[in-house]
């Protein structure tokens, strides 16, 4: 076995494509391991750690493609490298679509010229370069949405300062979702348009709130994302406050929802002060904060679902969400469950949804472990391995290194689900399925065979899913729901109700030794 590094100078491909191709071709004949990456320092370090960096690879530059693999004697190396290259060039949609008539656009400036001006630059580039292009976008007078993570804190602060000076919004870094005037950016859903505006420092949290609102018959004016770090002390809520101010001033917004994990105290005070002065009704959902009394116009909600319902109420729409009842299928499974099975395993792709579950479960489940918790006694020691009751956020950096986000790529979740199911102590597998633009095109289809295998296990665990999606999402909300149900999953229409259902199940387990 030998390690090979092949450099293709000045060939850029995005990381998702590289990861897909790496995965797809790593099982080619004679190939033991494959990683196709851009030759940046960070990537070279990763390769070195995994023993895939050879001497020639050290010379790769950030703009070079680096094909690193281990092969045994049987591999046809030239043919394999050609195969990798073909796989990469086969699908560069931007190029294929433009055809040869239209030139591809090489820079922000020419894109701006081609569109005759633009409002937002959506950046999902590697973190090292994201701030670079974001600053340029701000200089050109455009708002920025930074989907990228791994952007240094000092860059975030400096970008947001520039934005503040120029009256331009910097959403992110690590901002997954925004809705602007009916357009979903990043991971976003096909929600109805309406009069409720959202500012969110928690991406899937905003998706959940928006979907519930839309599915209950109301709609969204705008949803402004900020990235989770925005509300911490260092950044001081610069984007959050600007977003809130914009919604207060926006004539199309009548009710405002704020979604965030608990902000820094000073930042929270500023936000609430601005909200209180704004005259529009505000529902603040500060996930994980202690209960607060409403002080109109500011109202408080403790779950995402409650935030949506309260906002609807303020809009004059009364919608009661019934507590979920166990389906007959789940009941009969519960009767047959093996008595040793007693723990919950939550496998989340949406970080905020995972957090919400953790927060809601913790009071009745003091031993709950999670990679989402900041407290060391509550942290899952090795997120790759479950033990006891636990909630795992599979969107954690630890899992996304060299792999697309779990909302896009379901491979890891599938694998983990099967692993949990075969753990004789696992009673319930709780998971989220996030639909919408940017997400996997058919999540239920991806999970189907794994779920069916679990469903067939004698005395096996119960399956509960929180389906986060709007009725009109491209994946087909109802179709997704039906496929999941056919696989023995009880599908809940919000994360909060999925958690309630899980609590019910756990309380009815044959064992009470917990």
């Amino acid at each position: 076995m030998k390690t090979y590094n092949i450099i293709k100078p000045d060939k850029y491909f995005d990381s998702v494509l590289l990861m897909q191709v790496s995965r797809e071709l790593s099982s080619a004949p004679g190939i033991i391991e494959l990683s196709v990456m851009m030759g940046s320092q960070g990537n070279k370090d990763l390769l070195r750690e995994s023993g895939l960096l050879a001497a020639e690879g050290e010379n790769a530059r950030g703009s070079d493609l680096l094909i690193a693999f281990k092969a045994d004697g049987s591999a046809d190396l030239d043919a394999f490298v050609e195969k990798v290259e073909n796989a990469l060039t086969r699908r560069t949609p931007a190029r294929a679509e433009d055809g040869d008539e239209e030139e591809s656009v090489k820079s922000l400036e020419s894109a701006y010229a081609k569109l005759g001006g633009a409002d937002v630059v959506f950046i999902s580039l590697p973190g090292d370069y994201a701030a670079w292009e974001a600053e340029k976008a701000l200089d050109m007078g455009m708002h920025v949405m930074l989907f990228s993570d791994n952007v240094p804190l000092e860059d975030e602060i400096s970008l947001k300062k520039i934005g503040k000076e120029k009256g331009l919004l910097v959403m992110g870094p690590d901002c997954g979702t925004a809705f602007i005037g009916g357009v979903g950016l990043g991971f976003a859903n096909a929600v109805r348009e309406g009069k409720i505006g959202v500012v969110g420092a928690a991406g899937t949290g905003m998706q959940e709130v928006a979907c519930i609102i839309s599915n209950l018959g109301a709609g969204l004016s705008h949803g402004i994302g900020t990235g989770g770090r925005d509300v911490k002390k260092d950044v001081g809520g610069m984007a959050f406050l600007m977003g809130l101010e914009m919604l207060i001033e926006d004539p199309g917004t009548e009710i405002i929802i704020l979604v965030t994990k608990p902000p820094d105290k000073g930042v929270e005070d500023e936000i609430i002060k601005m909200a209180a002065a704004g005259k529009k009704p505000v529902v603040a959902c500060l996930l994980g904060s202690a209960h607060k009394e409403d002080a109109p116009p500011v109202h408080y909600a403790s779950t995402l679902e409650q935030a949506a319902v309260k906002a609807l109420e303020l809009a004059g729409i009364r919608q009661k969400i019934e507590d979920p009842e166990m389906s007959p299928g789940l009941k009969s499974r519960l009767e047959k469950i093996s008595p040793r099975r007693r723990f919950l395993r939550g496998l989340y792709s949406g970080g905020t949804l995972g957090s919400e579950a953790e927060i809601l479960l913790r009071p009745g489940m003091p031993g709950l472990l999670s990679n989402l918790s900041k407290k060391s006694e509550e942290r899952l020691p090795d997120p790759w391995k479950s033990s006891g009751d636990c909630i795992v956020d599979l969107g954690d950096d630890l899992f996304t290194r060299g792999r697309p986000h779990p909302m896009i790529d379901y491979a890891l979740r599938k694998e983990r689900m099967l692993k949990e199911a075969t753990d004789p102590e696992c009673a319930v597998i709780l998971f989220d399925v996030v639909l919408g633009y940017g997400s996997n095109a058919d999540p239920a289809g991806e999970l189907e065979d794994a779920l069916l295998r679990i469903d067939k296990m004698e005395g096996g665990p119960l399956l509960v899913a929180a389906l986060c999606g709007a009725k009109d999402d491209p994946q087909g909300y109802e179709r997704q729901q039906k496929v999941l149900e056919r696989c023995g999953v009880q599908v809940c229409l919000s994360n909060a109700s999925a958690v309630k259902l899980v609590n019910k199940i756990l309380n009815k387990l044959p064992v009470s030794s917990k």
């Binding site: 000045d10 703009s63 030139e103 090489k106 820079s107 400036e109 020419s110 600053e135 200089d139």
Partner: protein, 420 residues
């Protein structure tokens, strides 16, 4: 944008503005020793950044030797070589004397040169008179025939053109000719068919008014008519008079000169004054005359890249689809090259327009920062000289300037503008 960034941006915008408003006018023809500043008896000017005799490429050496014979300083080429090796002859880049020269760019004291005045800013620039195609001094040819033609140019062509242009009260507006030619399929570097005709049209009335021998007149007109690149040297001097206006401009990161001596390509940057940043000259890809191949080609040569520096030439290729014959591409490729140059330029030239691109101005003012950031260097249209002295032109083609000199310039800019 930082404070320094703002200053640079403002300076670069101003630089583009200045170059756009420059109005080169052909005002005179004169002997190099009379008109070129700092021209001395034993001085030979050459193209590109400074280069020592021992490092000069074949065509430049050939042209230098030919010029010494032409000047009567040597009885033959061997003799001329001895003279150079004696150290009596001094060399200097044309660019150091407000002049430019195509290919070898050799200028010796007796040669007649075009005098172009930028009427907006008042500065002047100089370039020799184009000798025509085939075996010519600028490609390193130096046979008796070449020398004889140079003599005729000195004794007949130069003085006639001088008398003619001096009759034009306001001179001949080269900016107007260039703008017009760009809309007639020239890019005014490697294709000057329309511009040469337009220039002759401007010139003829003045020629006809001269009290000179009819046969002399015919020979002059035939000479100009027989050379589709007659305009090139006028245009180069005009471009030089445009680019020189930003030389020394504070905070400006725009390229103020780009030139090749056949060994190295060098660039200068406005705010860095007369410093050169060099890299080995590249090899053009192109179309070769029958009997010649890439193996015969000398590396990239000449000051004619002053055209690209001033926003025409390869930068205006979209205006000259016929030029792609040289590169074996389609007219679409010409558009692609021009489009690419917008990516590295600070602005556009309002008066030099490209009909095909909806009369958009040509890309103008190469910003060193953009070149390095985008890893795209200026594209160059060029003639190709034989690598041996004395042979002449073997083809024409296209190439990108080397990246290395731009990266060196960037470093110098950072050191100068943002001292540690």
């Amino acid at each position: 944008m930082s404070e320094i960034g703002n200053k640079i941006e403002a300076a670069n915008n101003e630089a583009v503005q200045m170059m756009q408003t420059a109005r080169p006018v052909w005002v005179d023809v004169g002997r190099a020793s009379d008109v070129i500043p700092g021209m001395e008896e034993d001085l030979i000017l050459h193209a590109g950044p400074p280069v020592k005799w021992e490092n000069m490429c074949g065509p430049v050496k050939g042209a230098v030797l030919g010029a010494l014979v032409y000047e009567g300083k040597a009885s033959g080429l061997k003799d001329a070589e001895k003279l150079v090796e004696s150290g009596r002859i001094k060399f200097d880049p044309c660019h150091h004397h407000r002049a430019v020269g195509p290919m070898a760019g050799v200028v010796s004291p007796s040669m007649y040169v075009f005098v172009i005045e930028n009427r907006t800013h008042g500065n002047r620039a100089y370039c020799t008179i184009n000798e025509g195609l085939g075996k010519v001094l600028r490609f390193g040819a130096n046979s008796d025939e070449v020398i004889r033609r140079l003599k005729w140019m000195e004794h007949t062509l130069g003085p006639v053109l001088q008398k003619a242009v001096r009759q034009a009260k306001d001179g001949i507006d080269i900016k107007a000719v260039t703008a017009q030619a760009l809309q007639m399929g020239d890019e005014c570097h490697n294709r000057n068919v329309a511009a040469s005709t337009l220039l002759l049209k401007e010139l003829v009335p003045y020629l006809l008014k001269l009290d000179i021998d009819r046969e002399v007149l015919v020979s002059v007109i035939e000479f100009i008519m027989g050379n589709p690149h007659f305009f090139l040297n006028v245009s180069m001097a005009a471009c030089k008079s445009i680019a020189d206006v930003i030389r020394g401009k504070e905070y400006c990161t725009v390229m103020s000169a780009m030139a090749r001596n056949g060994t190295e390509l060098g660039i200068q940057v406005a705010s860095l004054g007369d410093r050169w940043f060099t890299a080995p000259a590249g090899n053009p890809k192109g179309l070769y005359f029958p009997g010649f191949t890439e193996k015969d080609a000398n590396p990239d040569l000449g000051d004619s890249t002053i055209s690209e520096t001033a926003g025409i030439g390869a930068f205006a290729m979209a205006a000259a689809p016929a030029i792609v014959r040289f590169i074996g591409g389609s007219p679409k490729d010409a558009v692609r090259y021009t489009r690419q140059m917008y990516e590295i330029c600070s602005g556009t030239h309002v008066d030099y327009q490209i009909p095909y691109m909806d009369f958009m101005g040509t890309p103008l003012g190469v910003d060193i920062r953009k070149v390095v950031e985008k890893q795209v260097t200026p594209i160059i249209n060029t003639g190709i000289a034989h690598r041996e002295p004395g042979v002449g032109q073997v083809g024409a083609g296209i190439l990108y300037a080397p990246m290395d000199c731009f990266e060196k310039a960037l470093e110098a800019l950072a050191d100068t503008l943002v001292p540690a």
